[in-house]
């Protein structure tokens, strides 16, 4: 069999799909715009629900690729043209052709500066969940801008999610459990540090997530139901935040050393461009549109074009990898292998 599948995006979804396609005997062209594969997961430290090392997951997926996969790192896919069932991939590298295309372009972090009232990029002790992952990876604990250890940390849920005002009405799914995980990690790394989580409601949808939430409560994390209204910097560079505790219907004001914004998942910029070049549309949130929600989550409305992972909407690693493998099977069907 001499068929080629182009996989656009070398995150966990792209890696898992390529490996599965290899096992089914297909040649794979795996495009990744960054210098390394692994996608967003490369930037995480320990993963929910069981604190597994993120690198380990990426390495495991990458090592199951065979010689049938040609990885083009540092190569940005601009558009895909389809002519008579053949797909021409236009990228920053040399042009190539494939018999099927799988989009695994993933997501981009919401730009927290768009939520200016939370002070990201303005107040030095306001960071994002992604910044905190980097801190855990490099120093094992959260640190303030001046290098000292915080005594009070606040996690703000739903930053750039479930927010009409920034045009992101959807839930990003993984940030609640990420916040709970990171809160536990802070309590473990700095037992003296008080931790507050400001949430709208807690969406603990996956196996083991609810247990993680219980664990956080046992470990003394304070959960406050209420959305932040604004943040202000004090002269000592602490951050004073204002919110409403909606459980007791009272406005409250608290000054903390470090604010962590749980930034949501936004559609990757190139997802829409590539879809458009194929004559396809995105869904109402700007992610890739799928054929149907129940039995066609890896199919698009165009034959030969498939999607998997976070490019069609917020997803955790488990779902991204499962979808990628399901997509491989769908591609196999399409190319006449079954």
């Amino acid at each position: 069999m001499d068929k080629t599948v182009a996989v656009v995006g070398g995150g966990v979804a792209g890696l898992a799909a390529a490996a599965a396609l290899n096992q089914l005997g297909y040649r794979v062209l795996l495009y990744e715009k960054e210098a390394f594969t692994g996608g967003n997961v490369r930037n995480w430290d320990r993963l929910f629900p069981k604190a597994r090392n993120a690198r380990e997951v990426v390495d495991e997926l990458a090592s199951s690729l065979t010689g049938l996969t040609e990885i083009a790192t540092g190569t940005f896919v601009n558009s895909v043209k389809s002519t008579d069932g053949l797909f021409e991939i236009e990228s920053s590298g040399r042009p190539a052709y494939a018999d099927a295309v799988l989009l695994t372009t993933g997501f981009e972090l919401f730009d927290a500066r768009k939520k200016e009232e939370y002070g990201y990029g303005i107040f030095e002790n306001v960071i994002t969940s992604a910044d905190l992952e980097k801190m855990f990876a490099s120093s094992g604990k959260p640190l303030m801008a001046d290098g000292s250890e915080p005594k009070k940390v606040a996690f703000i849920h739903c930053v750039g999610s479930r927010d009409e005002k920034v045009n992101k009405p959807y839930c990003s799914k993984v940030c609640c459990v990420t916040a709970v995980k990171q809160a536990v990690e802070v309590r473990e790394a700095l037992p003296e540090c008080e931790v507050y989580n400001f949430y709208m409601d807690l969406r603990m949808f996956g196996t083991g997530y609810e247990q993680l939430y219980k664990e956080a409560q046992v470990k003394g994390v304070n959960f406050i139901r209420g959305r932040l209204s604004e943040a202000n910097e004090t002269r000592t560079h602490q951050v004073m935040i204002k919110a409403e505790d909606t459980l007791v219907s009272r406005p409250l004001q608290i000054t903390v050393d470090l604010v962590v914004l749980m930034v949501g998942m936004s559609p990757a910029g190139s997802t829409m461009t590539i879809l458009k070049s194929l004559g396809l549309l995105g869904n109402e949130d700007g992610f890739a549109g799928i054929a149907n929600a129940h039995t066609g989550s890896t199919l698009t409305l165009k034959k030969g074009v498939f999607v998997a992972g976070a490019c069609s909407g917020p997803a955790n690693i488990t779902d991204s990898v499962n979808e990628a493998r399901a997509a491989a099977l769908r591609i196999h069907q399409y190319l006449g292998g079954v």
Binding site: E116, E117, I122, K165, S229, T236, Q253, T255
Partner: protein
């Protein structure tokens, strides 16, 4: 012979409308508050009277402002109003001339040619005959456009034309009939007695060839008289009352009388002065972008005039003011709407009593960021840095959180509750001992300026920063970036500030303009004036406004309003920044750097332990 029974419909109609108008003017005048009455009487004997008379000519007759909206629409209004007026004047002159100055009965000039068949005795006969025909043609041409507009409103630059009630239709039909009937009557006359000019004589002789003019003459004059009478009688009950009310309104306004914080008979004058021209319907974004077509002043004012206010219409309005600036009659639409809203105040008189006393430091310049301002820390930071760089001795009045300026409450009609907040902020401002007040928020600015009665001057930061730059206290450099300025509703139309922010930007950036700019600028969609608008609809408005702003592909959308900034930032693909941020970047001679070093705050915020406020 100067009388015939056929003039009776005209006479009775005319007498009726005169009595009604004089009665109405009297009632309106009597209903004015004492201070306004005084203004009126003083105005009668001042130069304002001359200005008002001039305005009556230019607006009620020539319709200058309507011309500005669209040439053909202006021409239509002018030919009908001014043309008719000239016809009456010329007719009067003609008859006076003919009867050597004797005073004639009022119908005589109107029906002159019915009574006089031999015009040889009329001096300058050729001139008069020509003039009368010419003016009639002039009016008829306007009428032609009016009829055409009913069916093809796009021709006069309008997408929507106002919907009519039955009595309106009666008035409209009689109005439309007047001039064609006059043409017929005069032509028949001319066909028989050669009394006409180039138009009526030609037509008359043509008709004479196949029509029994002798028989038709009388009915034609009678029909003309009936059309006039019907129109006059219907006037007080229809929008045509506007013709006689607008004149009164112009005088009242020129004498300094305005809408107050409650309906008065001045409001009645305004309601009656609306011609329902429909210009406001086209200008309203709720109509052009959201297909909400029944809330615009044309309808809202009509409902009020008919004493049938509709809560939905009252509430559904951005208070963007586009209808105010485009209204050729100059009706204070948004103020009337707010007063109407205030009839349904939700808050009690002692609302907000729980807000405790706040501390405030002294300074020469009081800086007020406002609630919305606090959602834009970059702007605040830029202002504080600029103050320090310019060596301004300032105090940040609402550093620890704002007490709302009260305008959102005012916009919702809760004037009393707003008043409580006004009092609290006034105390703070007074205590700061500041000599001037500066705010970055046009909403607060308008409230401070119009409702606070402060004894210190109030500046919007666009004015104040420009002043600092012009006094060389700040020295901005140049940037190649292209910037478009968005006029916030409350700053532009609301407060008349259009040039200062542009001048400030143009010093350092290349300024490009939007599709809709200045008076014609669009609302960002974030309006506080409306609570009954879905997020989806707001998004649609914002999209349209961003499209207008990005017409010339600017790199940056500059705003001078924290609410506009937030609204755009959520949706725009280009950078959105406040003019203060842009000025600071220009002063620092460097492009945007979001990790700018923090300023030492003027006053430390208290580090509170989880306090309930």
């Amino acid at each position: 012979m100067k009388y015939d029974p056929f003039v009776l419909p005209f006479i009775s109609g005319m007498a009726f409308v005169l009595i009604v108008v004089i009665g109405k003017w009297t009632i309106w005048f009597k209903g004015l508050p004492f201070s306004d009455k005084k203004k009126f009487l003083n105005g009668l004997f001042s130069r304002k009277f001359i200005y008002a008379s001039r305005e009556v000519v230019s607006e009620s007759m020539l319709h200058r402002k309507v011309f500005r909206s669209n040439f053909w629409l202006g021409y239509m209004h002018m030919s009908l109003a001014f043309g008719w007026f000239l016809l009456i004047v010329a007719g009067n002159l003609e008859t006076r001339w003919y009867s050597h100055g004797t005073i004639n009965p009022p119908w005589y000039p109107i029906f002159f040619e019915f009574f006089v068949h031999d015009l040889k005795e009329l001096p300058y006969r050729r001139f008069f005959v020509f003039a009368m025909d010419f003016l009639l043609l002039f009016v008829l041409s306007g009428l032609f456009i009016a009829i055409y507009k009913r069916y093809r409103s796009g021709f006069v630059g309008m997408k929507k034309t106002t919907r009519q009630k039955t009595i309106d239709k009666l008035a409209l039909t009689s109005l439309w009939m007047i001039f064609p009937l006059r043409l017929l009557a005069e032509s028949f006359n001319a066909g028989l007695y050669d009394t006409g000019g180039f138009l009526t004589n030609t037509l008359g002789h043509y008709f004479a060839r196949f029509l029994p003019l002798e028989l038709l003459r009388y009915p034609a004059w009678l029909a003309y008289s009936i059309a006039l009478g019907t129109f006059f009688v219907s006037m007080p009950f229809t929008r045509y009352m506007h013709i006689l009310t607008e004149i009164f309104l112009i005088f009242l306004r020129r004498f300094g009388i305005r809408e107050k914080q409650a309906h008065s008979t001045f409001t009645d004058v305004e309601l009656n002065a609306c011609s329902r021209c429909g210009i406001c319907i086209d200008k309203c974004q709720l109509s052009s972008d959201l297909e909400i077509n029944n809330i615009q002043p044309a309808y809202f004012l009509r409902d009020l005039r008919d004493r049938k206010p509709d809560l939905f219409k009252t509430e559904t309005c951005l208070i963007c003011g586009r209808c105010n600036t485009s209204c050729p009659v100059g009706i204070e639409n948004t103020n009337i709407r707010l007063n109407e809203r205030s009839i349904h105040q939700f808050f009690s008189a002692n609302a907000y009593e729980y807000i405790g006393k706040q501390e405030v430091k002294n300074g020469k310049v009081a800086f007020f960021a406002g609630c919305m301002g606090h959602l834009n820390p970059l702007t605040i930071k830029a202002m504080l840095t600029l103050f320090e760089k310019a060596g301004v001795e300032f105090t940040f009045v609402d550093e620890n959180g704002s007490i709302c300026c009260g305008r959102p409450l005012k916009l919702s009609g809760n004037f009393m509750a707003a008043g409580n907040l006004v009092a609290k902020n006034k105390d703070l401002i007074r205590e700061s001992k500041a000599e001037i007040l500066v705010t970055t928020c046009p909403i607060c600015y308008k409230m401070f300026r119009d409702d606070y009665r402060l004894d210190i001057p109030v500046y919007h930061h666009s004015e104040y920063l420009l002043k600092l730059v012009e006094e060389n206290k700040l020295d901005p450099g140049f940037s190649p970036s292209t910037v478009v300025f968005h006029d916030p509703c409350d700053l532009g139309r609301g407060s008349g500030i259009y040039e200062q922010p542009r001048r400030l930007i143009a010093r350092s950036y290349s300024l490009v303009e939007a599709d809709h700019k200045k008076k014609d600028s669009l609302c960002c969609g974030g309006s506080l004036g409306i609570t009954a608008l879905s997020g989806e609809n707001r998004k649609t408005l914002t999209e349209a406004t961003i499209a207008s702003l990005t017409l010339n592909h600017p790199e940056i959308i500059a705003t001078a309003c924290p609410l506009c900034k937030k609204t755009f930032a959520g949706q725009a693909d280009v950078r959105v920044a406040d003019i203060a941020e842009l000025l600071l970047e220009a002063v620092d001679h460097k492009p945007a750097d979001h990790k700018a070093t923090s300023v030492a705050m003027h006053k430390p915020a208290d580090c509170l332990e989880e306090v309930e406020i």
